[in-house]
């Protein structure tokens, strides 16, 4: 089934769209979630949460702003990140479960945006292959072994490439970080 049909169903609040979403895009969402969580039950829980999030926020998906898989990846990733952070908090017992991060100040928001743009500009200077590698590591949080297997390389060569990418970005972002 085409993504367009599933999106249409979800937007029309047709519950069969959820079933089709999981049937067709479950593998993608599981793929995105897997590196963030080690426990299989947690992963399944996150998958359900992410699917629910899709159901709730499908109205915000705009095909003109980005692709369906990018949007779905972002939803699944955020759900996985939330769960991973909650896990970490539970493990370290740093903060009570109901604690929330304080809202960022306008200055912090502006600075964050500025740095984000600088990082994106720096990433544009990388080759397509290096950019994909960077995203695998820092966005998808994939372990080196997984990246190596999927790229048909050894872990050592992936680490080497990542090291060179980091060094280049460090150089390019020196101004932003000083």
């Amino acid at each position: 089934m085409a993504a367009r049909d599933i999106i249409e169903k979800l937007k029309n609040r047709d519950e069969s769209g959820m079933e089709e979403l999981l049937q067709h895009y479950g593998p993608l969402m599981r793929y995105v979630i897997r590196p963030f969580l080690s426990d299989e039950r947690d992963r399944e829980e996150v998958l359900q949460n992410a699917a629910l999030k899709v159901w709730q926020s499908i109205g915000r998906f705009d095909a003109e702003k980005g692709s369906w898989t990018s949007w779905l990846t972002a939803v699944a990733r955020n759900a996985a990140l939330d769960m991973a952070r909650a896990e970490k908090r539970r493990e370290t017992d740093e903060l009570p479960e109901d604690a929330h991060d304080p809202a960022p100040t306008p200055e912090e928001t502006a600075l964050r945006k500025e740095r984000q743009e600088a990082l994106l500009r720096a990433l544009e200077t990388l080759s397509s292959g290096d950019r994909v590698l960077f995203y695998r590591k820092y966005y998808y949080r994939q372990p080196t072994a997984q990246i190596a297997a999927e790229l048909g390389a050894t872990e050592r060569s992936v680490e080497g490439r990542l090291y060179r990418i980091r060094q280049k970005l460090k150089e390019l972002l020196k101004g932003e970080m000083s």
Binding site: Q23, H24, Y25, G26, P27, L28, R30, Y31, G66, S67, T69, S70, W71, T73, A74, N78, E107, A110, L111, R112, E114, R115, Q116, L119, L120, S128, R131, V132, F134, Y135, R136, Y138, Y139, Y140, R141, A145, Q146, A148, A149, E150, L151, G152, A153, T154, S157, R166, L169, K170, L173, E176, M177, S178
Partner: protein
Amino acid sequence: MSEKLPPVPGEDSFDEFLSAHLPEETSSEISRLVTPWTEAFLLILLSIGIGLINFPDQPLLGIIQGAASSAFGLLGWNRLRGENKSFRHGWILMLIRSVWYLADALLKSTLWSDALNRLLSADILFILGLVSALLFLSQLVCLRDGIAAVQKKAGAKEDTSAVSFLIGAYAVLLVLALLNAGGFFVIIMFIVIVAALYSVFRLSHVLDEAGYAVTPSPVKITAEALLGTFFGILVIGSLIGVLFFSRLPMKWQAPEPYAHAETAAVREDLLALGFPETVLDDLAEEDILACKGAVGLMHQESFYHDGTLDGLKLESIAVVLSEKPRVWKVFYHFTLPDEKGYYGTDALELRPMQLFGWTDFTEEPHGRILIGQKGETKAAAIPSVTRGYYRQQGVTFGSFSTGFSGDAYFASFSLPNKYENARGYVTLSVSDPYPAIDFAWGENAKELIWSRYFSGLYYIHQVNGFHYPVQSAEAFRKSSSYMSRGWEFAVILLEMSWFFPE
């Protein structure tokens, strides 16, 4: 500029900085490229797509195509081999196909390929080709089953129609090739190839959703090592083949002194009949002795002056051994101009125009080559003399075609890198099949003899050592069109040899 956050001192902090400042949503390009299967799968499809294209009569392109198909296939199947049983079998078949390809490619860098083709019957060559095609077909079946297994694992609906179509299309191609179909079927074949390539393109999307369930295997052999080994064997092996195994074995040694006392007397008789002394000096003792009792002699000398082998000299000598029955011993003696950097093989082609005139050989052609090296003369017997029917592609003018089909003798030999004063000869004996015809030496007889003993003689000279696949001069001649010149061989039509009394 807004206030800066504290500096990031260490690597971990920088990693955090990078992760924290990435946008929430990636670009379409990134989400399209970050998958566990796309790259491996595309490599496999590239291998299949390239493997489907055929380059008839373009062996070099065929070798490059095979190398690309094998390299892409090895890289792709290597990554997916651990995903399921079918992909693993596909990987094993890829290894077998690659070893097969390498063996074939390396063999083609030597003269053994020619020899093997002559040695093996057409049936065996056909079976080998069929096995190779069936290996490819089996791999397509593995691909189909592997895709189905991935779709099942992902809980997706099984859809292997594209690869099933590809299997069907390849099977049709195979049948058409087996039937050696021509004419209208060539158009069908072309359509099927296009359809098959289209199905390869369709296949590129078959795992778009289910493919995320693929878990590539950690590579034991890196892409660099795999490609390095593959191309290393191919390039180094081919170079060794071209440099050391593209010549015929020649047993060079100093010519032995005459062992029989009567040889000197026969020599004297031949000289008295007008046999050129320089040619006589090059003859092996048994060939001199074979002329014992000669009653006549005809001699013709010609020079070839045009580009390649400029100055090549041919002397045709027919020694009349007996008048009744009429038996001649013919010598074709050639002298090559000095050349530097000689490689490969040369051949003298004897192609009687009127075959009936040459059917009664009383002695099969043979001969030897002589060279000068560091002031010494060395000789070696011509190692390969073959006779066989061949049909040559020619240019047709109405009912007349320049292409040849018929029997021909090829005397093939090789020369060392450095030599001087190279010459050689081929000799054979023939008896006149029409002894009843009275050869009263006159104009009519001259024409008759002309038409019957008019003999085509060609010299095929290798002009470039680094050609691939390696071919002997004989194989080149048989596969090329009439009087064609490749960048590796030149075909020189020596003046037609004919014998009649002056």
